[in-house]
Symmetry: C2
Amino acid sequence: MQGKKKIIVIGGSAAGPKAAARARRMDENAEITIIQKAPDLSMASCGYPYYVGGVFDDRNMLLCTPTGVVRDPKFYLNAKGIVARTETEAVKIDRKTKTVTVKNLKNGDCEDISYDKLIITAGAMPRKIPVPGSDLKGITTLQSMKDADYLRKIRDDKTITRAVVIGGGLIGIETCEALQLAGIEITIVEMLPQLLTFLDWELAKLVENHVKSKGANVITANGVAEFLGENGRLTGVKLQNGTELPCELAVVAIGVNPNTAIAGDAGLKLGETGGLIVNEFMQTSDPDIYAAGDCVESLNMITGRNVHAPYGDLANLQGRVAGENAINGNSAKFNGTIQTGICKVFDFAAGSTGLSEKSARAAGYNDIETVINASPDKPGFMTGLLLVTKIVAEKKNGKILGVQCVGPGDVSKQLAIWAMAIRGNLTVEDMINADLPYAPPFSLAIDHSIAGAHIMQNKLKGRMKGISCSDVKKRVDAGEKLFILDTRGPDEYEQMRLGIGEHLIPIGALRNRLNEIPDDKNAEIICFCKISLRGYEAARVLEGRGWKNVKVMEGGVMAWPFTREKKYG
Amino acid sequence: MQGKKKIIVIGGSAAGPKAAARARRMDENAEITIIQKAPDLSMASCGYPYYVGGVFDDRNMLLCTPTGVVRDPKFYLNAKGIVARTETEAVKIDRKTKTVTVKNLKNGDCEDISYDKLIITAGAMPRKIPVPGSDLKGITTLQSMKDADYLRKIRDDKTITRAVVIGGGLIGIETCEALQLAGIEITIVEMLPQLLTFLDWELAKLVENHVKSKGANVITANGVAEFLGENGRLTGVKLQNGTELPCELAVVAIGVNPNTAIAGDAGLKLGETGGLIVNEFMQTSDPDIYAAGDCVESLNMITGRNVHAPYGDLANLQGRVAGENAINGNSAKFNGTIQTGICKVFDFAAGSTGLSEKSARAAGYNDIETVINASPDKPGFMTGLLLVTKIVAEKKNGKILGVQCVGPGDVSKQLAIWAMAIRGNLTVEDMINADLPYAPPFSLAIDHSIAGAHIMQNKLKGRMKGISCSDVKKRVDAGEKLFILDTRGPDEYEQMRLGIGEHLIPIGALRNRLNEIPDDKNAEIICFCKISLRGYEAARVLEGRGWKNVKVMEGGVMAWPFTREKKYG
């Protein structure tokens, strides 16, 4: 190489600064420039909802290093030797001359700057709702620092009493919590029949129940028909079914699209998801141009298909790879994603890694087994909190395809365990005896994840026939006469029961009360308890006594997502 | 088989009840008997320190199911169809006649009972200190429910002001915390030069500093010479160096030995560790006898050597395998352990999975690389807490051999991640782009574990030369003239510094103050900062400018286990 390598990075949020910093560490002498449209750099955008919600008050915490230095152009220049041009837009890429035309948004001046290697980290754009009224004041997204400032001011000013969040995904849910904490009456509107579509329905329903228990209103399977307004200001949201929701604020959070405008104009190849196609080196169809973050599509390592996976952690990891390769040639790899995500939902967390049952079936996996496990994360004497987990595995080989987990317990650790299991191509048999860190302050002696694998093993080996709460509910609602056996204690039954005609025989009395079970040894019997461990034991008792069609309702009362009869008092 | 299968389980703490319950689920008709010497069954023995410490007050919580039913013989009979004979000792196994002689400890009666399959889960016995005075009143272990009751009463009675805990392992540390919380003045005495020997010295030292910061006294590299007493009661502990520690209570926690007395008498094969030898089916040298839990030795899956690994989680997992195989023949497997353990230490947790540097070298791994990473577990705006992690990997292939982690942050999740990585045979390269659940309430965008892998990758690829805090300290103490570069800000330096003659140049000023660096491009320069990320950046800057012997002091100020100069003020 003659002279100093010139690296241009388009985009200064997550992937861009990471790529630039990594490039710098690979080559102290390269000329590295970040082009950033917004006034801020290196924003912790995943933290916006917590700033809006008042978890912390200092806006700079979203922008600063762990030791409190704001990551502004001066910081980039001094600490990293990187030129960061903010309020500057990249408007055109000329691949022949290897130049980027940039426009100074403060004065409108344009300039061509040349590169040896270009890294595109242009991020994603929030999707808009193409309905009347969408230009009214009071409608926003939560995508930019500006949006965060706007919503935080609303929180602080306390002028607004009612808001509608459109979209029940990660950002929608996080925004709902933030505004709810600010004392604003919230309705979430979701087009699909459930919140958080990375979850299967029955787990999403548990989250929905929790959101509602916090006082937020949730409307699913309904879209926005129109934004209503007066004098240019939002006054309400009209839904497709005609419902009108009066409100002064609407936050649109229906997902994002890769921001590929100038990349597309420059002829770089885009994939079916709309994201830039990159290889494992984060290299686009032009070998001198790399890309990373929310503007690219990534390989789903399980299905082998490309997906748009706009996660902050992947943006950073991909940026690191792009930055290294832009300097060193293609030495570093990003092999893909298993789409691990998590979201705080008031006192719950909810997340997923790998495939849900729904996404597994959509991807063509038909020979799969699923299991739902409910248990505390720690012993009762250490104030364990509930976890509800659904595991999806291939029947033929026990390969773990995906795991979802929700609840007030330590969801994050559970998902991390399973994410590593999937990354290591582990099977259910491998998880059976996983060697995890156990002490009572941290987990059960048999960790929730391992217990889930045990149940899955029992199912795969034909030792347990499961049935989901949803299936039981459907059949009860359809008027089927089922023998449903609640094996809990009478006190538990008094406090809370399903109220679906279940028959109570505590597990400790079952062997002496077999006469209450249908005589017909082929009769279908559905056992459950609080978490369905005793339900499973009951099933084994009955099977041992000759009953042939005994099922366990997975997750028991704790996983039941429908109304329960409760005794208050 | 003619008739009902007869299963005897010797031992009713963890592995035994699990084996019995699993056997029952495999065969509703088997006759299953648990022989238990103690009056209680199925005690959550890992919970003793938290009961002693007053984390909870209801003793039954150690003995009951998650729904509050005490696991006594009646419970076992009714709920599980298992006969549990408490206060009954198995005194002899006759393998020819397949009988166990049991002795009723209440009346001394003996009886022979026969088995088709026997499961030995006899646990372990606390090691004793063979010094004068060890029969004095006031000396105890924390191994049994009786011990827990004794110590809890001491806590509640508040009659004791000074105690000595002998042994700085898991139980010793947990006991220390429990008694310290009770307002008792504590000294921990450890024979070896450090606490928690599953940690390497520098991480153990961080734990020791934390223990001391809580007001407990720690004496390492010193053993007990004698227990001192008056009128049969303990009055003090005399150490090998002559120090006398006045105290009214001594808790001996110097480890456990497998309880194999009657198994050994019966001619079952014992291993070098003193534990029963079992195969992957948990079968002893007698095919009709299985064993599980603290009385067996297990395969360390990394080194291929047998170890004694008395962990509560493994006892349960092994018990499950033994119970299944006792009924079904050898269908279930326990493949071994990677010796994952964790311990709460006041506001810290400390744990390890796989091999420490010390144990790796002892096992013959010579071509290894290590790295120490310090960072918060979450972003600053979510009140992230410090984690200090040491990773050990093989140089030739990057295989992860072990990880230790300590600090106030989420140590448990970190260890779970690494335990799964090791179980999946992952390499550092695999961990570089691990796909973990990220949202600000749960982790950094680049999780602490992944950042550790990044640093390790940089070292393995020769991009970073590391040096440990210990090595720096040793060389400074030896009077070596080193150029040690602190790259933090002046405010950070004012607040807390190492005070080892370091030179302060904030990273942002480094490129303009290169004249302060030794002219000699071969001079050794050691860079650090708070966590040594800026230290690494500084090293890259200097290397980019031609310096050839630049090192990064790993973990920076946060991992420095020696005295620091602090400004209070």
